[in-house]
Symmetry: C2
Subunit: 110 residues, 2 copies
């Protein structure tokens, strides 16, 4: 896998690599979970209904600074998104596959 990653990058000119990296950074907004929910046009009430929890649970969750990856995945999927866990290094980024959503992958294949 590491070799494949290196090969992919090597195929691009250094200028192209730098440009893509800069554009990718520029496009990436950064916000907390409550702002993301608002940006998706969702209320705490609606999200609570999708996740089958009470509204105060959503409020509490949005204030947390640590949680299980599976909990965060459920929360983001309830907003219609997908969770990506990325390890960023000076020479490139890698998506960590340990936490892939096996259940929804199986559903997509079915």
């Amino acid at each position: 896998m590491a070799k494949k990653f290196a090969e992919l990058r090597a195929k691009m000119a250094p200028e192209a690599q730098a440009r893509v990296e800069a554009k990718a950074q520029e496009l990436l907004a950064e916000m907390p979970l409550n702002e993301l929910r608002q940006a998706r046009g969702l209320s705490q009430k609606v999200l609570a209904e999708v996740l089958h929890v009470q509204q105060p649970s959503i409020a509490k969750m949005e204030k947390r600074t640590d949680m299980y990856i599976s909990t965060l995945r459920s929360h983001i999927e309830a907003m219609g998104g997908q969770l990506d866990v990325i390890a960023r290094f000076p020479d490139g980024s890698v998506k960590i596959s340990n936490f892939s959503d096996i259940e929804s992958d199986l559903l997509q294949q079915a």
Copy 2:
């Protein structure tokens, strides 16, 4: 923040947006934690020393399919990387800022 994100994207031509998205996906290797460690040229022993744990703890951790975000962050930082938690939607991606590493941010400012 949501408005700013939309503005950034709107400034780019649709072709450019699609091209950047495709390139970003192409550049992103996907692998489990043990392969990432090997790709960084690190042994379980070395990583265990950096994290002040026993080597079997690293082996065990690399097999886990769920963990606290803070645990994963420590693991990735021990490899010299940074953790990014991304919510990906069909119309763009957002970095979730709830889990920012406050301690290292403070250290960088000092």
